[in-house]
Amino acid sequence: MKRAEPYLLLTPAYLLIAGFLFYPMATVFLLSLREYQLMDPLNTPFVGLDQYAAMAGDEYFWRSLWNSVVWVVVSLFFQFLLGFCLALLLNSTRFWGRGIFQAVVFAPWAVSGFLIAIIWAWLLNGEFGLVNDLLIRTGLVDQKIGFLSRGETALLSCVLANIWFGVTFFAVMLFAALQAIPPSLYEAADMDGATAWQSFWRVTAPMVKPAIVITVLLRAIWIFNWADLIWVMTGGGPAGASRTLSLYVFQKAFLGLDFGYSAALGVALTVVSLVFTAVFLRATRFYGDEAAL
């Protein structure tokens, strides 16, 4: 009976996930094979993969997919870079009040997406925003900038808010990974006469790699999926400049009332994540390392 134990232990997780995630997702997939305009609810013909084919010719789809790529890549790059820097700094410095410092620096993680959006929209407000005030006082610009209303800056403004929020997550995870490296490894490297640079690449980097891979992967998927922040900050505008794929799914369903097409977009979004994950895991040679996953 020992063979049944892992399954028994996992049963609650299996049941909950199957009932409340996979089952609804399956209904969404079935819905994506039908035309389902909410305003014509009695007329829902089966159309097979037509709605997926329709995406190929949907310029909004391609633009929002591209925006999603920018949104994920730029956010992730800076979150990771800054998060890793912060983790390294925390790991290498001892100072009085570090506990409080950590609590404060990690605080953004405790703010909800909706509040982040509200706070940053307020900071970046084109008329009374703190950021504009700072830029003008320091003489960096002489005219107020409408961050959220210009095509070039709207998406990047959302990215900035996202970076603020997400640095923490990386910092916590990577800091923890750094703390877990046994000091003996560094001592051994020291004995071998390694420079700081060498011991970083030979000891630190390989030891935190699993943490990096899994954190980057999860963050990438989460950011790709995250629509609230942009919805509250810019609504996807101006002229779709900050509309990401996940926001498009929302708009199609609740503004366009086209639940069928929205379902298809949702499935497409999942498929894009899956493909990305497969490629990412292969590229980082992570797949074989079962223990770590």
Partner: protein
């Protein structure tokens, strides 16, 4: 430890200060906005500190809405949901860390796959499920959703923590006559306590902040969670910035307090999990 070179020290201090400012200035501005009288919010150039600080926005937040109620609801939902999450994740994480079984890899990939489902398309199907369960407009529906949403990641976290604890201790306990469940509860779980705290915190913060499902599933004001209550400050034509920021500050306080207390455990806990990845 070798003494740090002064230049390096300077760099470190500068870096830390920069991070501190970056993390703090939006929060600072939020708090300042919440105590600035309405008329001073819209002057240019801005005042970095109000000349006549006021609590009027807090008073308005309390008088116009049932904030204490929202608070209680949020705390109940978040803590119970994270307790459930933790229970399920401990069991699942243990199984994944200690056993090699058929379907283990599939399970892991399945957990990952759940993270890829866009919640937006799940709203209506989940709404229907909770309607059939008769749980709409109750906090149960949110507890279940938050539990489910957090299980995959938390299970993966717990798996890491258990992998970091040598299994010999449990085996010894079982030789002593403890059953497997006893071994988990009495040996493995206490050893991963910092990890449990980290996992709990993760689930708690996720549940504390969630908005979309809460807006969709809750109808009566008496069931509202804090984010829904705050969201109602945005009316069609008006954002009460001061009141909104007052509410935001109130919402952030408990999360911050919890953070300040447990973040040490959290890092230690996560570090435990990080040994094996």
């Amino acid at each position: 430890m070798i003494r740090t070179h002064p230049l390096r020290r300077l760099l470190q201090v500068t870096g830390l200060c920069a991070f501190f400012l970056f993390a703090v200035f939006p929060v600072y501005w939020m708090v300042v906005t919440s105590i600035t009288p309405e008329k001073d919010l819209f002057v240019w150039p801005l005042k970095y500190f109000p000349s006549a600080p006021t609590l009027e926005h807090y008073a308005a937040a309390f008088l116009r809405t049932d904030i204490p109620r929202f608070f209680t609801n949020s705390i109940m939902v978040a803590s119970l949901a994270s307790a459930c999450t933790l229970t399920v994740s401990v069991m699942g994480g243990y199984a994944l860390a200690r056993y090699r079984f058929r379907g283990r890899k599939v399970t892991l990939l399945m957990f990952l796959a759940t993270q890829m489902m866009p919640v937006v398309v799940l709203i209506v199907p989940l709404f229907i499920i909770f309607r059939m369960l008769g749980l709409l407009n109750t906090l149960y529906s949110l507890m279940i959703v938050y539990t489910v949403l957090n299980i995959p990641f938390c299970t993966l976290m717990m798996q890491g923590f258990f992998a970091g604890v040598p299994s010999e201790l449990e085996e010894a306990a079982m030789v002593d006559g403890c059953n497997r469940m006893g071994a988990i509860l009495r040996v493995a779980v206490p050893l991963t306590r910092p990890g449990l705290i980290a996992t709990f915190l993760f689930a708690f913060i996720g549940a504390w902040n969630e908005l979309l499902f809460a807006v969709m599933f809750l109808n009566s004001e008496s069931t509202f969670t804090l984010p829904v209550g705050l969201y109602n400050f945005i009316s069609k034509y008006d954002i009460h910035w001061g009141r909104m920021m007052a509410g935001a500050t109130l919402a952030l306080l408990p999360a911050l307090a919890v953070f300040a207390f447990v973040q040490r455990y959290m890092v230690r806990g996560l570090a435990l999990g990080a040994v094996k990845g």
